[in-house]
């Protein structure tokens, strides 16, 4: 079944305490070259059709439920067209 990916990220100007916490842990592991970490969310929606209407519907879902436009930005794309690696289920 085709999948649509929705990626949600905190807006650049919004403080991201979780990303900061991850970033703060890196030097303790010996990784010193990372300047910043931002943490977001990835949703995969399985859909029946691969048409533009489906994509539009997912965009609406992303805007109304999956993200809060006050603090987050989102992108929507087809999973297969960007070479998403499918993890085989056990």
């Amino acid at each position: 079944m085709p999948r649509v990916v929705v990626e949600v990220m905190p807006k650049p100007e919004i403080l991201d305490p979780q990303g900061k916490a991850v970033h703060g842990a890196l030097p303790r592991l010996g990784f010193d070259g990372i300047l910043e970490v931002r943490q977001g969310k990835r949703f995969e929606l399985e859909v029946a059709e691969t048409d533009e209407a489906t994509l539009a519907e997912v965009r609406e879902i992303a805007e109304t439920l999956l993200s809060n436009p006050v603090i987050e930005d989102f992108t929507v794309h087809w999973a297969d067209t960007v070479g998403t690696v499918r993890v085989e289920e056990a």
Binding site: P10, I14, L15, P17, Q18, K20, A21, L65, L66, N68, V70, I71
Partner: protein, 224 residues
């Protein structure tokens, strides 16, 4: 006067909120998230807790609970609505109030008796206080950082819609020390600290929170 308190899956402070209403002299009414029914109440409280486990974002799923259709419509019609902590988050997600609440800047859950300054004593929930009055009520949350864009913050300040500000320390990184805000009409108020935990001398830091509930009753009685 009947004040409804909504229970969502994961609400924690609904019983305390009903108790506070009773101690203030009102009739508390339990409302259920799954009902399309406000049972004829005169005001509504969205209590604290972790509705739907805070999944997705705090308040994001509760916003679409069946009862919220009625709450949003009634609030737009002038019904007094108070959102406490998770209730504040739900009000922001519902767009009844602007802005959003994000994780505390220090990344830890905080639980303390918090000093607040009442900035706006003209709302349905604060008319029993006076502007500039300092009160102490408990604060307990992990995601209480109030954020909004600069234009929204300026508008809130300019229109006197900042209802409470943190005094002494800013406990969570809230922009401009904002602890609570109201809508244009002053009937919808949201704040992170918990007035319902400060209504009896026996437990909590005092009775400074009781004024929220007596204010609403005064509003409903038309004497505020």
């Amino acid at each position: 006067m009947k004040i409804g308190v909504v229970t969502f899956p994961g609400s924690l402070d609904d019983v305390d909120a009903r108790r506070a209403v009773r101690l203030a002299g009102g009739d508390p009414v339990a409302l259920w998230h799954g009902d399309h029914d406000l049972k004829g109440v005169d005001a509504v409280i969205l209590p604290g807790g972790f509705s739907y486990g805070d999944y997705l974002r705090c308040g994001a799923i509760a916003r679409f609970a069946p009862v919220m259709t009625e709450v949003v419509a009634a609030a737009k019609g002038g019904l007094p609505v108070l959102g406490i902590c998770n209730g504040f988050q739900i009000l922001c997600e519902s767009h009844l109030l602007p802005g959003a609440l994000i994780r505390n800047d220090h990344r830890t859950f905080i639980c303390r008796d918090q000093v607040l300054r009442v900035e706006n004593a003209a709302t349905a929930w604060t008319n029993g206080y006076h502007a500039g009055q300092e009160i102490v009520i408990p604060l307990k949350n992990g995601e209480g950082g109030f954020v909004a864009d600069e234009a929204t913050l300026d508008r809130l300040e300019g229109e006197g819609r900042v209802v409470f500000r943190y005094v002494g320390v800013n406990p969570n990184g809230s922009l401009r020390d904002i602890a609570g805000i109201t809508n244009e009409r002053g009937n919808v108020v949201g704040l992170m600290p918990h007035p319902e935990h400060a209504v009896e001398e026996l437990c909590g830091p005092g009775t400074d929170g009781l004024g929220f509930f007596t204010s609403a009753l005064a509003t409903l009685a038309g004497v505020a």
